[in-house]
């Protein structure tokens, strides 16, 4: 369970976040939806423990996690950089991250096998990742992010560049984890992915949270008939927050 409160972040003179807040429950997929540059990636970078915000708090599983170290320990993340070690096998890539999270011996082997099973990569476990397709690389990166079986998982535009079968099996893996009680936060600018996968949606525009709820809720609030229209109405602040007004 994640509770993000009023995050603010500046890079030099550029304000990347000016107040992002949302909550994400266990056993659900929460989508962060926003146009390019809205602040989704920066938000996930902070929540995952990569960056320290200028202001704001992150609460993980009911405990304040203001230190990046705490967040890195209790969260699994697949952010916009997903590079692998091409000379290492799939198993070695995943086991390296498992070891860095304190897993050893039989427990490490068990966790690696389970992660590879979830993403469907057990048959390729002993192949080097050099020359893998985009979909296979994404699955290795996901296995690496979940090898320690985190209760909370962050994914930054994970379906970008995937072909239809890869995206489909990737989403199936996410649903499987959601059904096992994992809290998943999923950022995307693709409405189709958000609508198909997410139980709850957080809309971000210009570094701020503008709405949180489900698709039906957004449509009801704005008087729009589709999520796309509701998204435009809610994020295009200058032109009003309803379809009728827009």
């Amino acid at each position: 369970m994640l509770d993000v409160r009023n995050l603010e972040m500046r890079f030099g003179r550029v304000t990347a976040l000016a107040g992002v807040s949302f909550s994400a429950a266990d056993g659900s997929i929460t989508g962060l939806l926003g146009e390019n540059g809205a602040g989704k990636t920066t938000t996930l970078n902070i929540v995952s423990g990569l960056h320290r915000p200028n202001r704001g708090h992150v609460v993980v599983d009911g405990e304040a996690a203001d230190s990046p170290w705490h967040r890195r320990r209790s969260i699994g993340a697949l952010l916009d950089q997903k590079g692998l070690y091409g000379r290492l096998t799939v198993r070695e890539n995943v086991a390296y991250f498992g070891a860095l999270r304190g897993l050893t011996g039989a427990a490490l082997t068990r966790h690696v096998d389970r992660a590879l099973d979830i993403v469907g990569l057990l048959p390729l476990a002993n192949r080097r990742t050099e020359g893998f397709s985009q979909g296979e690389r994404m699955k290795v990166a996901l296995a690496r992010a979940i090898v320690h079986e985190p209760r909370n998982l962050l994914l930054d535009e994970p379906t970008n560049g995937l072909d239809v079968p890869s995206a489909r099996s990737f989403k199936a893996a996410l649903r499987q984890m959601r059904d096992r009680g994992v809290c998943i936060v999923f950022s995307s600018h693709l409405l189709g992915d958000i609508a198909a996968l997410c139980d709850e949606v957080v809309m971000i525009a210009r570094g701020r949270t503008v709405a949180q709820g489900d698709a039906a809720d957004f449509c009801r609030r704005t008087g729009c008939t589709t999520l796309e229209d509701a998204f435009m109405a809610l994020t295009n602040v200058d032109e009003g927050r309803t379809c009728q007004a827009g």
């Binding site: 997903k82 070695e92 070891a99 050893t104």
Partner: protein, 258 residues
């Protein structure tokens, strides 16, 4: 297992499979012995004697300490950023210091192996060139290897890593590391061809200290244990400071954003 050891072992495993980089590193390591062998067969050795060859050897050994781990440093620092594997690595609950020490340990392992290859090459070059090293130089050379070259290989690994860590691409890092290699080569050559007496301070400066140590041996002076110890300790201390500076640079938000 501590985090730095996990990282170090991964770097050794990963880079020991990089045949092209290993081949290039071996060529660099054997370049000095090949030159020494050629000179040993020329008339120059009759004029300068075996001491000339030892002096020449000292310059190549210095350079070897910086070049043997260079490709590993490039890949483990700038390469890690270029292929996008640095951010996932930084998301693990392992301190930046452990990550950098592990990478340093990995680069150092290749630096030490390269140095050993260079020294074996020199031994064979002397053997095949039919040159008998002067008996009074055996002990100074051994002291120079243990107190000078081995710490220098660790220093070179730290400096290579530091230079590569702030680069976003392999190409940028390659350019920067050329300067890192150029500096010890020029200092080493200058001190070989203009062997003026340096003050005791020189033993406290990496690269210059190593040359001062072998220079004293070449002049037939006894090697002071204090000077030898000073070279080793200050070179290691400088290496550790560079490792700390690299870990600091890894902690900045910009590195992850990069």
């Amino acid at each position: 297992m501590p985090g730095w050891l996990i990282v170090g072992l991964k770097e050794v495993r990963d880079h020991s499979r990089d045949n092209r980089a290993l081949g290039v590193a071996a060529l660099y390591a054997l370049m000095g012995p090949a030159v020494v062998f050629l000179v040993s067969r020329s008339s120059a050795v009759e004029k300068g004697g075996p001491r000339l060859l030892v002096a020449l050897m000292s310059v190549f050994a210095l350079v070897s300490a910086f070049t043997s781990g260079m490709h590993v440093a490039l890949d483990t620092a700038a390469g890690e950023r270029e292929r996008g594997s640095l951010v996932p690595l930084l998301l693990n609950p392992v301190s930046r210091l452990h990550l950098v020490v592990g990478k340093w340990a990995g680069v150092s392992a290749f630096s030490l192996v390269g140095l050993a290859l260079t020294l074996v090459g020199f031994t064979l070059a002397f053997e095949w060139g039919g040159v008998e090293p002067p008996g009074d130089l055996i002990v100074p050379v051994l002291v120079w290897i243990v107190c000078g070259l081995m710490p220098l290989a660790l220093f070179g690994a730290a400096l290579d890593l530091f230079a590569a860590a702030s680069c976003k691409t392999l190409k940028e890092a390659q350019g920067r590391l050329s300067f890192v290699m150029f500096a010890p080569m020029m200092v080493g050559m200058f001190l070989v061809f203009f062997p003026g007496r340096l003050g005791p301070w020189s033993f406290a400066v990496p690269v210059i200290g190593q040359q001062a140590l072998i220079g004293a041996g070449l002049r037939g002076q006894p090697i002071s244990p204090l000077h030898a110890g000073l070279v080793g300790v200050t070179t290691m201390a400088a290496a550790l400071l560079i490792v700390l500076a690299t870990a600091r640079s890894f902690s900045r938000n910009e590195i992850a954003a990069g």
